[in-house]
Every structure is written in structure tokens, then in C-alpha cells.
Symmetry: C2
Subunit: 370 residues, 2 copies
Amino acid sequence: MIRNSDAPAVAPAFSTVDREATEVWLAQFRADARTEALGYLRRRCAEHLGHSPLSRELAGRLLDYAARGKYVRSTFAYVGWLCGAADSPAAVRAAASLELLHTFALVQDDVMDSSTTRRGVDALHVQAAQAHRRSGLSGSAERFGESAGIVLADLCLIWSEQMLRESGLDGAQVRRALESYDSMRTELAAGQLDDLYNDARDVPSFATALDIARRKSGNYTVRRPLEIGAELAGCEPGLLDRLTGYGTAIGEAFQLRDDVLGIFGDPALTGKPADDLHTRKASTVVALADEMADSRQRRDLRALAGRSTLDRASAERWRQLIVATGARREVEIAIEGRYSAAIAILDESVPERPRLALATLAQWCTHRSS
Amino acid sequence: MIRNSDAPAVAPAFSTVDREATEVWLAQFRADARTEALGYLRRRCAEHLGHSPLSRELAGRLLDYAARGKYVRSTFAYVGWLCGAADSPAAVRAAASLELLHTFALVQDDVMDSSTTRRGVDALHVQAAQAHRRSGLSGSAERFGESAGIVLADLCLIWSEQMLRESGLDGAQVRRALESYDSMRTELAAGQLDDLYNDARDVPSFATALDIARRKSGNYTVRRPLEIGAELAGCEPGLLDRLTGYGTAIGEAFQLRDDVLGIFGDPALTGKPADDLHTRKASTVVALADEMADSRQRRDLRALAGRSTLDRASAERWRQLIVATGARREVEIAIEGRYSAAIAILDESVPERPRLALATLAQWCTHRSS
């Protein structure tokens, strides 16, 4: 399990007072964004998913699911906005729309990976299967659950873009961000496709694994949301470049941390099983372990990856082998390097309030245990 | 099998010369729309699906799939446009964008229904599974195929809206149509959800089956595309109302015809097996047969629906029973009634060229055998 005791100090200019004030307003923002996202989702569901008791139940479960998010992407978008404009309820709504996009991604991902747990509860398609079973309808409940998950995700994909457009920002503001928005959505889906053949039984290079991680998750978690917020606010190109640099570094570090948690994390904290070994995900950590292993370690690693089933003792042995190759330590160093690089980019050209927020978020992204 | 020998005469004012000229330009439009949709799709795929040989192969199959469409929805959108504006390459592109939305819908539908054939070839997820098998990658080829189908469909959903926005029409024109566009996309996805529990072992009323058919397919095939085209062109409300009336009637008739073909159609013409009985789809025809049956026929119909498997002889007997209840004849009358009502709406307020096209399309939608 990961301990955070050795988390580094944040950027020097960052006083305890600043930090506490920043954490307070970020928490308030997350609450506001959650209210907006759920309000929008509730209205759309009432309009379109009221035809049967079962669809009303699915709508309720979708709302509960969306409520459980960490609102990371909307936070980065709003901090991007604050780099160029003042607080605005319309911008809160625009930022919150990214949570619906994220809901789309998670729900479909869980269907495709046959994941059963997410955000500390059953995955949405599993909940849909349970609802089907209780309703006494004919046909396969599992199949229904997967199909319902896919369709609910589609609706979130559609509604996310619609919520952005209907946020109350004017047409010219929204248009400035649409190119980044379209790229983000497409990279997200195309990245899922790459992920489908990203299987530890065919270990990719660390560089390839990192490239997929960057396109699939890093960009979409940090860099693109930040850019979208800053573009909505009309930030000038120099500032945008710095946000892109910060976002690229912290996005990669976020994904590297995710891959560490996917193998060594505490399920009680992450809300999902540490199952990247069980699903044979060819994550950055697995790829790096393969590269750093000596020939005997590599043979053992590949034998474990090739097993048809994996018991608890074998998973533990696999974890120990990864540590023994030095890959885990190397990934921690890689995370640290990106964290430092990102903090160094945050110079005085970034207004103070978003700068403090970005420093706080950088630390959370890279040193979180959930 | 359905014969079209008793197709009714079209609206009286419709001369053979008019009709031939209309068919020529509609065929030319379809060719142009296909070129635009495939060109856009090809550019997006080159940009985002070039990372591996397998994703390049999937992109090629997606393009081939999109090329095989009938371009019905884009045709209705362009005819709607011509009700208020002159020919325009930008409007052709805007109309063609609906084909990408349709590709999204078909590909995901086939995954959810486990359909294996579409447009005369293997369903896209089946093709993706074949590609996976040939590539020698590990893991389940079937599961990969389904996931790849879902993701390729997502990309088409995203790109459809992007293509509409990037069509070259100006922002004000596009904004006029976005409310209808959003409704259409949402109704389409929400209708798929309703379809998931639309199972002939729990026969709905004919009214319910027709309501689902209208929301899921009728609106999205005819009414909404027409409205979107007319709104893009800035048609006045009175004309829009008439197009909505025509679209509702022909959309329902289109779906009723689809349900007839789903049971009695010739697979060699429709490009998909006549398998609504095998999949136990609670289509309008099945629902009406249940309503019109006497008690003995109803018992036999429900016994057939309840079987775990259905051999060729039982399917044939089921078809004969449906005919015997009078449901097939009644559905033909319902199609005819909607056809006549739609033609009656097409008064002089609809400009001549789109009016002739709408008459031609009404006949095709209601009397087609493919």
C-alpha cells in the first residue's frame, strides 16, 4: 500500500494560509460544479428517461453515479478560466459539463473491461443488470446491463456537449474552445480503442505505454480541461502555452500515479480494486518492469502475465517482482520530475489565485492515494 | 416475401417527367453526400486512428461500412434545406453529417442486439473480431470486436456533430437547428434504451410499440432531418409545421414498413436477415397480431414467442399466424393511410423542387423492399 508520508514540499512561495484558503475555495467549487452537473443531468433524464419504471430507476442510478465523482476535470477547466476571467456562474456550468463527458468515459470503460466496481460501489452496468433482474423482465440481465451502460454513456456524451453550449457563455466564447473540446473527446475515444489491445501478454515499451496513457488519460484529465477553460476565457497565447506545459506534465504524472495505484493502491481508498494485474493491463508500470528486469525476472514476469487465472499469492509475487526490478521506484522518480517541472512553469504570468490552485492540484494529482 | 406490384399511384400532380428528373437529382445528391461524409470520416480517421496496423484496418472497415448506407437521413435534411434556400455545398456537408450519426446508431445497435449481418456484409463488430483474430493478439476476439464497435460508434457520434458545425454554414444558421439536432440525438439514444426491454415475450400494446418506433426510428429518419434542414435554411414556422406533419406521418410509415420487412422481407434485398421473430423483437406487427388474435391464435403466438429456440418451420408458422390474425393487412392499411395524409400536406406552400422530392421519398419510404 502506498504511504504519502514522503510527499514533497509544495512550491516555496506557497504559505500555509494560501494553501488553506485555496483548498476551501476548490472544495466550494467542486460542490457548485456537482450541483450544476447533477441539475442538468436531472432535467435531461426527466425529459427523456421517464417512459418506464426501469428507465426512471436507471436515471436515478446514473445521477447517484455522477454525484460520486471527484470533479477533477471540471476543476482544471475552471482554474483555466480564472487565468483569464473573473468568477462566473456560466463558467462553472461550462466546466461542470466535463463531468458528464467523464461519466461517459468511465461507464463505457467499465463495460468494455468487465469491471464490476467503481467509485466504491457496483459499476453502473452491474447496477443496471441488478435492476433488470429485480424487474422480472425476460432475457439476459447481464447483457441488458451492458447495453444499458452503453446507452446511458452515449446520453452523457451528447449531454456534455449540449451543457457546454447551453452554459450561458456567449457563442464566441464557446467557439474559441471547441477545437480543443473536439480533440479531447476524440482522443478520449480513440485512446480507448488503443487500450483494447493494450494487454500485458504483449508487453509494449514503456514509451508506448506512456504515449497511450498520455493520449487516453493525461491529456483528458489535466491538459485539455485547463486549455478549454483558458480558451473560454480568452487567455493570450503565451499564457496558454504555459498551461499546456503544466497540463502535459501533471497529466502524465496523474496517469503514472494511477498506474501505481492500479497495482499497489488500497481499494478502500481508490474505490476500485487494484486489479491492473488481474486484467493484464499493460500499464506504464508493467511495461517499465519488463524493460528494467534482468532475464530471469523477465521470464518470471511474463510467466505470471501469461497465466489464465491469478490467485492472491501470485498477484503478491508479481507485485514484489515489479518492486525488485526497480520499476516502481523509477516511476516515482518520473512522477516527481514531472511535478517539479510543472511547478517551475507556474511563474508570475499566471494570476495568483489560479496559480495557487494549480500548485495545490499538482500535489494532489501526483501524491494522491485515491 | 413482399411484392411491390400493388404500390399506389403517387400524388396526381406528379408527372413521369417530373418524377424522372427528381430521381436523377436525388441520386446525384446521395452520391455527393456520400463523398462528403466519407471524405470527412477519412480525414478524422487519418488523424486519430493511425497508431497501429489494427486501428488502421478498423478505420478502413468503418469507411467501407459508411459507404454502404442509403443516405436517407441526409436526403431528407437536404430536401428540408431546399424548402428555404438554394443549392449549397455547405448544406450538402451539413446534411451528410447525419450519416455519421446513423453509422453510430447502427453499429451500437448491432452490438447490443448481437446482430451479425448489416448492409449485406458482416456487422462492423463482427469484422473487428475477425481483424483481431487475424492479428494474433491475445484475449477474446468477440469481446474485442464488440468493444471496438462501441468505440468506433462513439467516434461517429462525436464527428457527426463536429462535421455539422464545420460544414461551412455560418454560426447563426447552425444555431437555429441545434435544438432539433440535440433532441434527435437524445431521442435516438433514449429510444435504444426502451428497445432493450422491448421483447416479444412481454408483448406491449400496439400503441406502445408504435410510440417506441416513432421515438426511436420514425422521428430520427424523417421528421427531425427534415426539420433540421429547414431550420438551417431559416424556413418560416407555417412551412416548418407542414414539414413536421409530413415527417411524422412518413416516419411512422417508414418504421411500420421496417417492421413488416423485419418479419416478411427478403434478406437478399434488405441486406440483413428477416430476424425480428428470432430476436423476439416486440415490433408493431407482433404487438398488433397479439391484439387482433382470437384467444386460440394468441395462445399459439405466445407459445412461439416463449420458445428458447426457433427453427425455420416454427418461424414460418409464426409468420402465417400473424397473417391469419389480419395484423399484416392492418399494418399495410396503416402505412397507406399515413402515406396519403403526408402527400395531402404537400400543398403549394412547399416549393416545387422539394415538394416533388418529398413525394418521391414518401413512396420509397412506404413501399420499399430494402
